[in-house]
């Protein structure tokens, strides 16, 4: 697609890093469930951990489109590193940048955007997934502290995060109006990251349970006002969807590229494999859908950058790009034949990684509801 020159240059910089440093490690991270701490440091050096945040808050001072391009390029070679980047920026930093006081921004956003600290976001609970109003974690104000009790589940980077934004309610029976957002720091007594999940894909990223047991959090760690948790996480998820869409797009592009490389290197019955119409049809279809997904993802990013409404567009971008992620990686495996199911090629990893994109930060079913509500009205 046609895009401003500055993004082309930025993409090239990220792609160089991704291909040389991330791609080389991706298979091992996946097989050994290894969190890439060294790559996190490198991303910080390259100013990739706070791309869309202003320089005064430690960011790179670029925009959402540049950020989406970076997530896409990292995702093209490694879903695990991509989801780390997406969760750190969109879920860890954004809610504080969005709802935090100046003091909170200086304290939390700056070190996270610089990549000195790792961020995470705790919304989902064992019994509150799609239904975030069902939040049962409680935060009760006692004097100048909130006392937090409860558990979160499926939290990206939970174990390694220094600062965790999370939601809790003052009374589970209140639904959304009862929910507020807070920041907890690693090491706070009563807070700990529990079990690490063993997952289908994204095995180089960490997914944890978070436990709160009479965990006391200073009153000033409330984000926004009491009862504004819903507003904070809805805004966070709107933006997060762009990054998951971008990650799905990257995985899909990686799958198409891998399929093309494979096709070029093989012959079938004395003919170039690429002469097979099955292959042509499959690659053309996947590549076209990848391009359409890119337009949707970039459009959502550009709307956000222009401060225009983008809820519908980001939901469409995530819904569509995540389905393309699955389709393109499925096609890529099929094109590889039996080789495609072995770890000798990246395509089986792409499929495992891509599946999370249809689930995390709102399932495809939830995206459809968001889109329909925007179109039809509530």
């Amino acid at each position: 697609m046609i895009i401003d020159e500055k993004y082309v240059t930025f993409r090239k910089k990220v792609r160089d890093f991704a291909e040389k440093e991330v791609g080389a490690r991706a298979a091992v991270l996946d097989q050994k469930h290894e969190f890439p701490s060294d790559l996190v440091k490198r991303m910080a050096e390259l100013d990739l951990l706070g791309i869309s945040f202003p320089k005064q808050y430690g960011g790179a001072g670029l925009d959402t489109l540049a950020y989406a391009i970076a997530v896409e390029e990292i995702g093209r070679v490694c879903g695990s590193t991509g989801i780390f980047l997406a969760a750190h920026s969109s879920l860890g930093i954004f809610p504080i940048y969005f709802a935090g006081t100046e003091e909170q921004k200086m304290k939390y956003v700056v070190p996270m955007a610089r990549g000195e600290k790792i961020g995470s976001f705790g919304l989902t609970e064992p019994d509150a997934g799609s239904d975030a109003a069902g939040t049962r974690t409680t935060a009760i104000l006692k004097g100048d502290k909130y006392v937090v009790n409860g558990a979160k589940r499926f939290i990206t980077s939970g174990h390694v995060a220094d600062y965790i934004v999370f939601t809790a309610t003052k009374d589970p029976s209140l639904g959304y109006p009862g929910i507020s957002a807070f920041v907890v720091e690693k090491g706070t007594p009563g807070y700990n990251a529990g079990k690490e999940e063993d997952k289908l894909g994204l095995r180089g990223s960490i997914t944890s349970e978070l436990n709160f047991e009479d965990c006391e959090i200073p009153k000033e760690n409330l984000l926004g006002k009491e009862g504004e948790g819903f507003k904070v996480f809805m805004a966070t998820l709107d933006g997060g969807r762009i990054s998951i869409g971008a990650l799905a797009l990257g995985i899909a592009q990686g799958a198409v590229d891998a399929a093309i490389d494979f096709v070029r290197a093989h012959n079938l019955g004395g003919r170039s494999y690429g002469k097979s119409q099955y292959v042509q049809s499959a690659i053309a279809e996947a590549a076209t859908e990848v391009e359409a997904a890119r337009l949707l993802v970039y459009q959502a990013a550009m709307l956000k950058d222009r401060d225009l409404p983008f809820t519908q567009e980001s939901a469409m971008a995530k819904y569509y790009a995540s389905s393309v992620g699955m389709k393109a990686s499925d096609i890529a495996i099929t094109i590889h034949g039996m080789a495609g199911i072995t770890a000798g090629y990246p395509v089986e990893r792409f499929l495992r990684d891509a599946k999370l994109m249809e689930i995390g930060e709102g399932t495809s079913e939830i995206q459809k509801i968001v889109i329909a509500r925007q179109l039809i009205g509530k």
Partner: protein, 362 residues
């Protein structure tokens, strides 16, 4: 369920395998998948039940099952362990089929071994030109060297290996007993983790006429012999699809969001219904293919294509219905997805199967 008119024997087989999977496999399902349980021990128990030689003639200790019974056995096994089902399929749908047709002097010994629970490997004839092994003819023997990638099924310390070799349009299947000239290289796979899918490296393997089990005058003739394997694949696919559906269905009944069980939501219902519709359509196709007195080659190919696709569809949807819980290894949905996609690519590419089906239709 359609086609429920099983014979007494078929119902008995279904019942026996269900009892076996419930007591022996289900408690260790995840351990088996992760290689933490002793697969060999489980396979020996299957042999004791008499299913290791499902397609081996009774005179050699086999069960000599009819094709539908064979499919029922594979489907039921695959519901809890697709790897186990695949090992049974390779030993019977490939090895026993070719050995039974052979006039080789050792054929009876080999068939007895299969029935006793020895697993034989099967080298996959590479689809791509650059992967075809290099073959040199030298007086009364040929010498084989693998070039790029060649895979084998049941390659986990096999008792013997059947190796198809193409030479001037003909396909010969050779019997290889242990040989230092073949290395079985374990390789992590998407799914079917303990079925022994591996790479083989062949260096200077000498094959003499005495090792030739059977020869086909054309690749076409050889391909036709693979139909037993294909219907077996379709049966395993039904097992995976059924298990994926059951797991998602049960979860959807139990999981509450927005104050209701998620099975009450039409988007979830739609996924479940589509899984069920495709699985039952696939069952009709498969049973139609194997119930005819002479198996219909076109239907066999259709069942292979449709059912493996259905299994991938159901595995994917099963994970989706379960959301975050579908994505983690505490539940089996993610395994169904991995096993299904693996099954679809085994032995031959779906593109190649489509080519064959088109030839049948023409």
């Amino acid at each position: 369920m359609l086609f429920s008119e099983f014979t007494k024997e078929q119902t008995l087989i279904q019942h026996e395998i269900r009892k076996f999977t419930k007591t022996i496999i289900e408690p260790i399902e995840r351990d088996l998948d992760e290689g933490k349980a002793d697969f060999g021990e489980v396979y020996q128990k299957v042999a004791e039940l008499g299913f290791a030689g499902s397609l081996v003639a009774e005179q050699f200790g086999g069960a000599e099952l009819d094709r539908l019974s064979f499919c029922v056995m594979l489907e039921e096994t695959a519901r809890s362990c697709a790897s186990l089902s695949l090992v049974l399929l390779v030993n019977n749908g490939l090895n026993a089929v070719f050995i039974s047709k052979s006039r080789h002097k050792d054929r009876h010994i080999l068939l007895k071994e299969i029935a006793e629970g020895v697993t034989g490997g099967f080298a996959v004839l590479p689809g791509f030109d650059e992967n075809l092994p290099k073959i040199r003819a030298d007086a009364d023997k040929i010498i084989v060297d693998s070039q790029a990638e060649q895979f084998a099924l049941n390659g986990n310390d096999p008792g013997f290996l059947l190796m198809p070799v193409t030479q001037s349009g003909k396909v010969s299947i050779y019997l290889v007993r242990s040989s230092s000239k073949i290395r079985y290289v374990p390789i992590p796979t998407l799914g079917m983790n303990v079925a022994g899918i591996c790479r083989i490296e062949i260096a200077g393997l000498e094959l003499v006429a005495d090792q030739e089990l059977i020869r086909f005058e054309s690749k076409n003739e050889y391909d036709k012999m693979l139909n037993v394997f294909r219907v077996g694949q379709a049966a395993i696919a039904l097992g995976i699809a059924g298990a994926a559906y059951d797991t998602a269905f049960k979860y959807a009944q139990e999981r509450k969001q927005f104050g209701r069980a998620i099975i009450e939501f039409p988007m979830v219902q739609e996924m479940l219904m589509n899984m069920k519709i495709r699985t039952e359509a696939g069952r009709c196709l498969l049973y139609g293919a194997v119930k005819a007195p002479e198996p219909d080659p076109g239907l066999c190919l259709m069942a292979r294509l449709f059912n493996t696709e259905t299994a991938v569809y159901c595995g994917t949807r099963s994970v989706q219905v379960m959301g975050g819980y579908g994505y983690i290894k505490d539940y089996s949905s993610e395994r169904y997805l991995r096993d299904a996609k693996t099954l679809q690519l085994l032995l031959e590419s779906p593109f190649a199967v489509r080519d064959m089906l088109m030839k049948e239709l023409l």
